[in-house]
Symmetry: C2
């Protein structure tokens, strides 16, 4: 694989060169508050590990393994890891956290370290064999595997542009061989920059059933040294050709050196087929780089910049003209890496000059690739670490340990900080906070339960969900294949909805729509004795609405009609129903949530001003702005001040203790209103009515708005206790999950249950 | 029922008084071109008479009975009759028409007059008994029954306002009793104004198996005289009370005077229950007025104004303070009617003064009711007829007969004219021409097949369809319960559609979407050797599009990207696929139609100018404007003239014989393009692909657009002969039904078949 740079230049493939697919597997131990390994079972809310695509356990029951699906770029891989982390962090038992360092927290005696309780016996037996061979403590050392595949269009264009005669699989294999060979020669650079296991807790050394000499600590990376997570030193697998690689691994399995092929703990591995032999047919599809210590300063194990640096580094291994094909070169690289791993963290690298040359080359290459700006930042950070060894991760960690009273205490503090960040906005899913809240919740639940979730149109809130072969598409969190097309079309049309509900025997406020003022006036006879509301057909914010609670005089009616026609070309005159409006969320034949919305308000304490009370209420973590939170901040703008004025207040007034002061007339959550869950308080007869209405509309998901004068008096067919205002398709779900008062209702789990009835989905406790 | 006017005034019920429900049953004989009774069977395309709600047969197999469902006002009843007429007229065998007069066309010997071939034996036996009793000829005399119910809210408001103590059913009965009693006294007025059976054909008199004296002709109304469609003269049913009415009819059935209750051929009947006895319990729900001769000058049997007049007349019968409760008054009325019916049509009424008083009263009443303007016109026309007897229908018909060579010839000419009008725009359904063409077709088919169809939102193209207990809602003719909600949402999002189709293995033009110019330019490498099209994401009319058939230079690519970004914030770069675009209409797993669209064009004849050729092509009855026709008129505006100029033509140029001159680049039907059906010409492999694509999208109805270079070469999975451009939800159907060239495809029938699989729907032959 020579002259790659010339070929890329000739074929104009610079931007293509940086395309690719990226994936990451990150291990992390569950710990308790005091920095001990948690001995509790894997959280049951995380669904079934026998198929979970995102959250597994590695060696130990307490060792989470977080897995991203293949992403088209580094930023996407990063945000997927962020989201999976959010899910894992929020699924832990109270008081637990994820240990953010590679060397374990305080571990118990080896006999007490739980092996992952997997369904598959083979998997358990494999882990037991590993425990016997390496000791459990070593298996707890956690890290990151980084999977990288060159862009297929790039490979194809290069293959064709070079006029290769062999098959494309062979060509691709030659690319990855070169990349791996050069990597093995230069990987010490990554150990220097990203090594982050300078020391370990005493419990780690103490627990060695397979004793090893404790080196002079601190070092750059225990894990990347011979003391770390590696095969015995006599194990040798050639990287000189794919054929040798395959036959060496197969030999080691055959002669019992390896329990299985996957026991090959190489810093880099070839991937693309279930067995290594398969690679000879398919060619190498991607590589797996396994050298990364967890970065304790990165909440998700590795920073986006470091992910970008690794990408660039691997590209550079292919880019350079140098060839380090022989296993002897790999051995040299191994030795340089061992030296680097065991260097003191605050000392410069023994091979600084070589690293400077490599970084300069990477910079030069990078400049031609039209990359996002965080790549530039990545190179800058690496250069700084090279020049200033005190800035390496290993040394930074040592400094923290020294200032913060030891390894366990300082890393536990980080773990708790990350866990607190993760719980801070329980309604949002980091990485996807630009999407609708309900979609974030659905994504969260899908990831938690192990349903493969893919955002196929971010702006359009379009998800693809998959469980085994079963695929479902979802838009805006509850628009699915389970509803008939006509149902939302009916609900969208308020007058059609009314007609259908009325015909089905439900109590719809009687009313007429008028296009002409004269006709509306001629119909006065219909309303003269009735409580009515006159309103423009498509009004908002109450403009042009008149309410007559006792039947209007002809004169008043005439005025009301004229006012309404000023606002719209069509006017509705409807029966006025007094009572409280509730939203019934009907899902698949059940009322899963009932919500009362109350206008923005504060309750006086006899001491503080309205301004202070509002400020205090706005402290609620559920309150935010621009629909990024389940509740909105209460404003003190013109409308609110006018409303106060009408009640004889100013913002500086001090309401009586217990007095409720409303700041708005409308009860919308979007203008600071409170949402109050009433699911368990409303008589079952109303729930039944809402369920039957939804059925009459042919819908499986609907938000039915009922006005109820007294929800404690049962409703009957003859004397309905409600009037149905409207039925909403695509009803909001996040407000039910995080109400201001009352129990949250996780409707998104219900949606998943409807979509995937074959998967029993348990409510979070 | 006294003081009604005062009550209405006191309760302010003037406009309410004119509310009500209206229905009509209209008989009409099928005839052949030469004015003979048609002896063919009831058209099979009209579905099954055992349940048909709109089109039945009355006594004879050749006697159509057209039935409107209850309508909320006269205008609505009128348009429903119009639509049902359109359906009936277009369902006749070629050469047949509907006889527009009450007295029959030329009829054969009685033995040859076919009795309706109904499934129910009872129904056939009843007709045979009638034939024996009255003779078949008399049973062929056709007319209109007009059903009228007072507005229920009016009745209720009046009932409550008057503080009635009895039950509301009794109150309602008393209203209808008064209405009927006064009607029987004054019905001669309707006979005078609307009587339209002045003479009959000789075959009618000749055919009397039950001979009757032929009166001095012409008269006003044979049918409303004792010679018409009435019971024997000794039959007497009292209208003095409902109890007497019921017991009289039951007695007549019991003693054999009536074969069944329905044989009571009264000018007015009480309705609302299956048996007359049931009326005693339910009260009278509505009345049926049976005196109306077909108006041969009205294409649908009665003008809207006359329908309004009848409404007013019936209201007036209730309005007036007069009571004519006794059967003696009814007898007086009967005599006056007989006199009127047998008067010479061009002579003034014997009771003109009484009629003038009634009309004046009706005018006065009407002025208080806030009625549509055609009511005013109705009164005006009635007054004219009263003053000028030559303007009555009977006399108008006599005048026509005299000027046009006799009864048969002149009425046949009218029948043919109406039939021609009905066939003139086969794509439109009169009464509903403001709705979308596809909805008009679906309504047509539903009416034809006997599916109850109700427009529930006209502007929104919302229909309710019902067959027995099975209800389906349809929007825009093919948005139904049979599609999943998510399917149209997928199709609406072009990029999601592409992703899904591509993942399912279909050939989608490769391509990317760019939000940034720099990124688009950096991706030049992808396209340098490929045929591509660069286009703004949401362009129309070809603005900002560049096509490179052989792979662009970097310079040209850069220019194209910059141009496209001037038009939109997102730009698509896609594989350019050459070939012809076809629309595949997939319905329920089948390709029901394939259409090719060709840009607006004319074909030269070596003689005429382009202007002349366009004018000729625009003669096609399928061409119209504003989407009111399946094809649009070809324009000769700026765009067309520019296109001509580019080809070296002007509108005055004379193209060579056989030369095709295009007037547009785009092939849209909306800009004068031609639609050409290709359903039977495209290789089945493409149909299979379109079916599978629709399945992959989870849709049952889709318009799949494929580009095919050569549709005669089969497409295979390995070498797809197509590229799929998009899949459309709610695809247009009318253009397939009425193509410019090729066979029409009645997709709306397929939609009905999908919605009502239990109803076997046959394609029109």
């Amino acid at each position: 694989m020579k002259h790659l740079q010339a070929d890329i230049k000739k074929l104009n493939l610079f931007p293509a060169f940086s395309s690719g697919q990226f994936g990451m597997e990150k291990e992390g131990l569950r710990i308790t508050k005091d920095g001990h390994l948690s001995l509790t079972p894997h959280p049951s809310v995380l669904g079934n590990r026998s198929f979970h695509p995102y959250i597994q356990t590695d060696f130990s029951e307490s060792q989470l393994e977080l897995i991203t699906s293949p992403a088209p770029d580094v930023a996407e891989m990063y945000r997927r890891m962020m989201a999976i982390h959010d899910v894992a962090g929020r699924s832990l038992a109270t008081g637990e956290a994820i240990w953010p360092a590679s060397m374990p927290a305080i571990i118990p005696a080896e006999s007490e370290i739980p092996i992952a309780k997997l369904d598959d016996k083979e998997d358990v037996l494999y882990r037991e064999a590993l425990a016997a061979k390496y000791g459990k403590a070593k298996q707890l050392v956690s890290g990151i595997h980084y999977n990288f595949e060159l862009g297929s269009e790039f490979v194809e264009a290069l293959y064709q542009g070079k006029g290769e005669t062999g098959c494309i699989e062979t060509f691709k294999t030659s690319l990855y061989l070169k990349m791996a060979q050069n990597f093995l020669r230069y990987r010490w650079v990554l150990t220097y920059l990203l090594g982050a296991t300078p020391i370990a807790d005493e419990s780690f050394w103490r627990n060695q059933t397979h004793p090893m000499e404790k080196p002079q600590l601190p070092v750059r990376s225990i894990r990347n040294s011979h003391l770390g997570y590696s095969n015995d030193s006599h194990i040798a697998v050639s990287f000189e050709s794919l054929e040798k690689y395959v036959s060496d691994i197969e030999r080691l399995v055959a002669n019992g050196d390896f329990i299985a092929e996957k026991e090959f703990y190489s810093p880099i591995r070839f991937r693309g087929s279930k067995s290594v032999r398969g690679l000879l047919e398919t060619g190498i599809r991607y590589i797996e780089i396994r050298v990364f210590d967890l970065n304790p300063f990165a909440p998700f194990g590795m920073t986006k910049e470091d992910m970008a640096f690794v990408h660039l580094f691997m590209l550079y291994m292919l880019w350079i003209e140098e060839l380090h094909e022989s296993d002897a070169e790999a051995s040299l690289g191994h030795k340089m890496n061992e030296t680097t791993a065991l260097e003191q963290p605050d000392k410069p690298s023994s091979y600084q000059a070589e690293a400077m040359t490599i970084l300069a080359g990477m910079e030069k290459m990078s400049a031609q690739l039209a990359l996002p700006t965080y790549y530039e930042e990545a190179l800058k950070q690496a250069k700084e670490k090279l020049v200033y060894p005190e800035k390496t991760l290993a040394n930074q960690l040592i400094e923290l340990i020294q200032s913060e009273n030891g390894f366990i205490s300082s890393v536990t503090a980080l773990a708790e900080q990350y866990e607190a960040d993760c719980l801070a906005k329980p309604y949002a899913l980091r990485g996807y906070t630009n999407m609708e809240l309900s979609t974030q919740l659905l994504l969260f639940d899908a990831i938690q339960k192990g349903i493969t979730a893919e955002v196929i149109d971010e702006h359009d809130q379009f998800l693809k969900l998959q469980y085994h072969e079963h695929i479902e598409y979802v838009k805006n969190a509850n628009m699915t294949s389970k509803d008939q097309y006509i149902a939302p079309l009916i609900m969208e049309n308020k007058s059609v909805t009314k007609r259908i509900l009325e015909a089905a025997g439900f109590h719809v406020p009687a009313g007429e729509e008028y296009q002409e003022e004269a006709v509306a006036l001629a119909n006065y006879w219909r309303y003269q004795d009735k409580a009515i509301v006159v309103k423009p057909k498509s009004t908002n914010y109450g403009l042009g609405i008149s309410i007559f609670k006792e039947g209007p005089s002809l004169e008043d009616y005439t005025t009301a009609i004229k006012i309404a026609f000023k606002e719209d070309q069509a006017v509705l005159v409807e029966e006025y129903v007094t009572g409280t409006e509730y939203r019934f969320f009907v899902l698949d034949g059940k009322v899963e949530a009932i919500m009362l919305r109350v206008p923005a308000n504060v309750i006086g304490d006899g001491k503080r001003t309205i301004t202070d009370l509002v400020a205090e209420k706005n402290q609620d973590i559920l309150r935010g702005s621009h629909h990024r939170s389940p509740l909105e901040l209460i404003q003190l703008g013109e409308i609110e001040q006018l409303m106060l004025k009408e009640q004889g207040y100013q913002i500086s007034s001090i309401p009586q203790k217990g007095e409720i002061v409303y700041l708005r007339e409308n009860s919308n959550v979007s203008t600071g209103g409170d949402s109050i869950d009433k699911t368990d308080e409303i008589d079952v007869s109303y729930k039944q009515a809402a369920i039957e209405m939804t059925a009459a509309l042919g819908a499986r998901v609907s938000g039915v708005d009922l006005i109820i004068p007294d929800a404690t008096i049962p409703s009957t067919k003859e004397h309905p206790g409600y009037a149905v205002i409207e039925a909403n398709f695509n009803p909001a779900m996040h407000m039910h999950a995080f109400p201001y008062q009352g129990k949250g209702r996780r409707l998104t789990l219900g949606i998943l249950g409807m979509l995937f009835p074959e998967l029993i989905i348990k409510e979070q406790p």
